[in-house]
């Protein structure tokens, strides 16, 4: 019986395509849950925003009317402006965090303790931060009010009762933990600064601000990027502080979009799911701008790395 031809050992379809299939298999669970819990709800929100619906009865299709109403809604306008204030002022956490981390990046006895103390506000709950600041701002016994009184200033109604000051007051409260967060990001970043480059720069006569600007900060770029991302996200998610400190008041002057959406759709007096969804869509669009930027810059980085 002559050996007619060489028979390839039998291999399953999976074995033959292992290299191509495996990554997809690993991705599948993640993609599935991302699609079901993130992508699908996004489109669902878009859909609900076209209806008039109280969450219980029949939903009535009204096209873009919810968005039309948003344009005339002054409470929405206030929330939008407040969101903008949050976005801009919250970024202060980045330079503040940087300077605290530079200050703490030294070797003296007990520095670990100081670092932990500075990091402390980030560890405690936002609710606690909100409560602490509400007492701090209290118009009768708050220490902030007393301090302003010493230099002859008075904010009518207290910080949280004054329609103009209230948003800034809450942002200041939010900056406390956010600064600590940025600080810890920069502290780890500073660990990876190349000492040889610093040495070389020093030999060239760089010191002080020049050293910081041209040698240290460029090396901290990854940390800055992460700090920027988490701060932007933090600013857009600002909900708990507002809820605990003012509930959007006085008369809605400290609302942001996320809080307004909650009020309209989910709170005790909210029955307008469609309107709430429309606000959520607007918030999503704002976030999308940043998300697109983050993705783009990460993509650029990946490309540059190869």
């Amino acid at each position: 019986m002559p050996a007619s031809k060489y028979e390839q050992p039998k291999r399953s379809w999976y074995k033959r395509n292992e290299i191509a299939v495996t990554p997809i298999l690993f991705l599948l669970p993640g993609v599935f849950f991302f699609a079901v819990y993130v992508i699908y709800p996004v489109f669902q929100s878009f859909n609900i925003s076209l209806y008039k619906w109280d969450g219980l009865g029949e939903a009535e299709f009204i096209g873009l009317k919810n968005y039309q109403k948003l344009l005339e809604d002054r409470a929405f306008e206030t929330s939008l402006w407040n969101n903008l204030k949050w976005l801009v002022l919250y970024l202060l956490a980045i330079p503040m965090g940087l300077f605290i981390s530079l200050f703490l990046n030294q070797k003296v006895t007990g520095i670990r303790l100081y670092k932990s103390l500075f990091f402390f506000p980030f560890v405690i709950s936002q609710i606690v931060v909100g409560l602490v600041f509400s007492w701090f701002y209290d118009p009768t016994f708050g220490i902030f009010t007393k301090m302003l009184g010493l230099i002859g200033l008075e904010i009518k109604g207290g910080v949280l009762g004054n329609p103009t000051a209230v948003t800034y007051g809450i942002i200041a409260a939010g900056l406390w933990p956010q600064t600590a967060y940025c600080m810890i990001l920069y502290l780890t970043g500073l660990n990876s600064v190349d000492p040889e480059q610093v040495e070389a720069a020093r030999l060239d006569g760089a010191k002080g601000w020049k050293m910081l600007w041209y040698v240290i900060i460029p090396q901290l770029k990854p940390a800055t990027f992460i700090a920027f991302v988490v701060t932007i996200v933090g600013a857009l998610r600002s909900f708990d502080l507002i809820s605990i400190m003012t509930r959007g008041g006085p008369f809605g002057q400290s609302r942001v979009l996320s809080y307004y959406m909650f009020e309209k759709a989910l709170s005790e007096y909210g029955f307008r799911m469609g309107y709430g969804a429309a606000i959520a869509v607007v918030l999503f669009m704002i976030m999308l701008v940043f998300i697109a930027y983050f993705l783009w810059s990460m993509y650029q980085e990946e490309k540059g790395a190869h």
Binding site: P139, G157, R247, G249, P250, Y269, G270, R272
Partner: protein, 421 residues
């Protein structure tokens, strides 16, 4: 914050309460009964638990499951459990607050319970539980609103309880001249301002106008409503209210009165317990009905009613109906509303009011001095959305009375959409 108390036959026997089963219904029921309750504060919670215990003793074969949910969380959870996993009995509120659930067909029509004698016994709240001629729940308690004041301060300045607007303002001026604010209030949560509007509007324009306004058939920007705000403004311009009220909750506003920095508080009777804890005994704390403003107008009062309902999706409706009948019975109402329990007013006219100064005054006021009508409260009479927008406007008005034109225009604009449904 959930807790489940399973009351089984064995537990009842062990507790030795079988004696109360003596006056049980003719036939004892069996099967299951699932109750969701929002009575999560300590006193109401004890009341709810004792009601379940006593009802269980009457029907020893019934397996009753009680779930007490935090009162604030309940307000949002009810939407989920009514549609998805309905209990047999659920707490809620009367009037417009139950309208969305009735419209969505989630509350069972319980007109049969109201038939006959019970309608007379519960006549004072029948209107608040009726929608298009049918009843959708039963009341278990209500309480009066009015002006709680420092009796000792009033005596100190030689004043007496005002009965007219002029007297009210004259009293207030005396307090202010002595460095005391007339009214404490905390508007951080907005509804307290709704109470002021209710009374000012009911006294200025009468109950019927007020009902029409909250019901959406009157405009906000009108002569009549402006008159109400003008009266309110008189007090604001005098500086009658405490400063910075927008930063306080209703509890945080209490110390001003307890410490004697403010003379009175327009509030519901539930505040009495806190006043007493704060050290104001009956020699220092007293109550008067909100005075007359427009002469000759029949006085209306706020008396919010808390209720029990049967969800349409309930599985043991027979047992649920028996429980509702038990809740509204005169004996039970007397017991749960006495000073040691809820400390509020029983709804059943055959029950007796506990011997408490404020309960007696409140009961007399609601029975005899409220010929105009009994309202629920601003945020229960007006649709929820309208209430939210309007109460925010009230707070703005109290801080910036000059913004009135703008506020009224805004309210009318919101009303167009809200009442169109």
């Amino acid at each position: 914050m959930h807790s489940i108390i399973k009351t089984s036959f064995a537990a009842i026997v062990a507790a030795g309460i079988t004696a109360t089963a003596a006056h049980a219904d003719a036939h004892a029921l069996s099967g299951d009964l699932v109750i969701f309750s929002d009575m999560s504060n300590p006193a109401p919670r004890a009341v709810m638990e004792s009601m379940v215990e006593r009802f269980g003793a009457m029907h020893p074969d019934m397996n009753i499951e009680l779930t007490v949910i935090d009162r604030e969380a309940y307000k949002t959870q009810i939407r989920n459990f009514l549609t998805a996993d309905a209990p047999d009995v659920a707490n809620w509120y009367a009037a417009n607050r139950m309208l969305p659930y009735v419209n969505a067909g989630l509350f069972e029509d319980v007109s049969d319970i109201w038939e006959g004698q019970l309608s007379d016994e519960l006549a004072s709240t029948k209107g608040a539980l009726t929608i298009e001629g049918k009843q959708y729940g039963v009341p278990y308690t209500y309480y009066q609103w009015g002006v709680y004041y420092r009796k000792d301060l009033m005596e100190q300045y030689g004043l007496s309880e005002p009965t007219t607007w002029a007297e009210e303002k004259a009293n207030c001026q005396t307090y202010l001249d002595n460095g005391i604010k007339c009214y404490t209030i905390g508007t951080k949560f907005l509804w307290t301002a709704g109470g002021w509007f209710d009374y000012l509007n009911m006294r200025t324009n009468g109950y019927d106008y007020h009902a029409a306004l909250t019901g959406g058939t009157e405009n906000w920007d009108s002569e009549a409503t402006r008159a109400t705000f003008a009266n309110w403004r008189e007090l604001i311009d005098m500086g009658a209210f405490i400063d910075n009220h927008q930063t306080y909750s209703w509890q945080e506003a209490m110390p001003f009165m307890v410490n004697g920095e403010a003379a009175s508080y327009l509030m519901g009777n539930f505040s009495v317990a806190s006043f007493r804890e704060g050290g104001l005994d009956d020699s220092k704390l007293d109550f008067y009905q909100f005075p007359e403003i427009t002469a000759g107008i029949a006085k209306g009062e706020d008396a919010p009613t808390d209720t029990f309902h049967i969800p349409s999706g309930a599985t043991n409706k027979e047992n649920a109906r028996a429980f509702l009948k038990f809740v509204v019975s005169a004996d039970n109402q007397t017991l749960i509303n006495n000073g040691e329990n809820l400390g509020q007013l029983p709804v059943n006219s055959l029950s007796s009011v506990d011997d408490d100064k404020f309960l007696n005054e409140g009961f007399a006021m609601l029975s005899n001095d409220a010929p105009g009508g009994v309202a629920q409260f601003f945020d229960r009479d007006a649709p929820a959305e309208m209430a939210a927008v309007a109460m925010e406007g009230f707070q703005e008005f109290m801080l910036f009375p000059d913004n009135l034109d703008d506020i009224l225009a805004r309210l009318d604009e919101a009303a167009v959409d809200i009442y169109a449904e």
